[in-house]
Symmetry: C2
Subunit: 253 residues, 2 copies
Amino acid sequence: MGTTQVDSLPEPKYWHLRTVLTEALDSEFTVGEILPNERDLAARFGVARATLRQALEQLELEGRLQRRRGVGTTVAPPRMGVAVGTSRHTWPGTPDDAWDPADCVLETPPASVAGALGVHPGDAVYTVRRSRVTDGQPVAAEQLYILPSSVPGLSDVDAPSGPARARAVLRELQRLELERQESDVELGSARAEHAKALDRLPGAPVLVVTTRYRADGRTTALSVATYRADTCRLTFGDLGGVEIHHQAHPQAS
Amino acid sequence: MGTTQVDSLPEPKYWHLRTVLTEALDSEFTVGEILPNERDLAARFGVARATLRQALEQLELEGRLQRRRGVGTTVAPPRMGVAVGTSRHTWPGTPDDAWDPADCVLETPPASVAGALGVHPGDAVYTVRRSRVTDGQPVAAEQLYILPSSVPGLSDVDAPSGPARARAVLRELQRLELERQESDVELGSARAEHAKALDRLPGAPVLVVTTRYRADGRTTALSVATYRADTCRLTFGDLGGVEIHHQAHPQAS
């Protein structure tokens, strides 16, 4: 890593080992199987423990291996296909939505969010926190920012906080006609709060999906969703909504 | 990295430094500015060189910094928004397509591709290689696999190879009616051949977009596109096609 002059550099040692290990995983091991310990693996492939560990970390990042304390290193199942965008756009919180609302507060969003929503820095917006669990595993955490002026009918009396409050805000939002919806996907790093929710360490690679919901000619809501990059494959398009597509890991094949 | 028991672990040192550096980048530096050298930076933040390097590598991965031999470490511009999917689906190779065809060969695809296309392992399919350059920078490399039976009108006589051959195959493909299109996005690692094309080292993080094109009730073409994860933000949805959305780096904010 670190430079853009790659022509003259040989393939890193750990990267070669990763390729060899990938082939071994494909041919010798089944999903869920526990790998031999590091000492035995290093001996078998004739590499230093440090090189082996680097290759194992790489394969964990690629979703091929899972390492759990007390269990050891196991062969991971194929990444889950998680439906993110479909061609039929819908507001968050509709009945077939896969997200669970946890809370809703009125607070000042980060500057980039304020910019995207067109509010003054320092102005408060509704922030709904939601989580997504698939097959019993936490796969994503979301912050959904909503313009207060977009949910004018919201009553402050009932459900002042918690999941009920979040649902009330989303219900109000759904009264608007959704005109347009766009998403960005990019590589990010799990911040401490998300890392905990996703059962990862801070800095673990995540896929960040930013979605703009437009109504009344403006961005009315903005979702920033953080997906585990090791276990998730995000699906977009006509089939979205059905979690299928189990296939081999296409490491840029 | 490495375990799923994260509750009791403190924030890694490099991760704390990364946060401090991010704030410094936002407040003190402008895009393109050259950072002080590693010795000075380590001294300023009171950390070991190894910790500093880990934080710089992290920020490079996040697209905040660029490191080039002979230049040093510079503050990176915001990631480019690269349009990947729009709600109006189109075949590859149409006039407003952002990809440049390089070659087309008839060869045996990887087993996972054969499975997705429903051909027998060992059967050859057309493989079109294309590249995508934005603002003079290589951003993506693609392999596009096409069923020979979907391009029956293809003449073997003219343009037997090269870009012209690729264009001829795509032109034939476009005669079919595109029924459906779905994409997956996942984190991958650049393999040697792609790393070179993308000006990265093997193992560099990439976003792999797999797109299935369906016509005549079957998957007729399959695209596996590898995008640089450090410089690209993939955009999906109604605005797709326009490369806009320059915004701050939302590290899972």
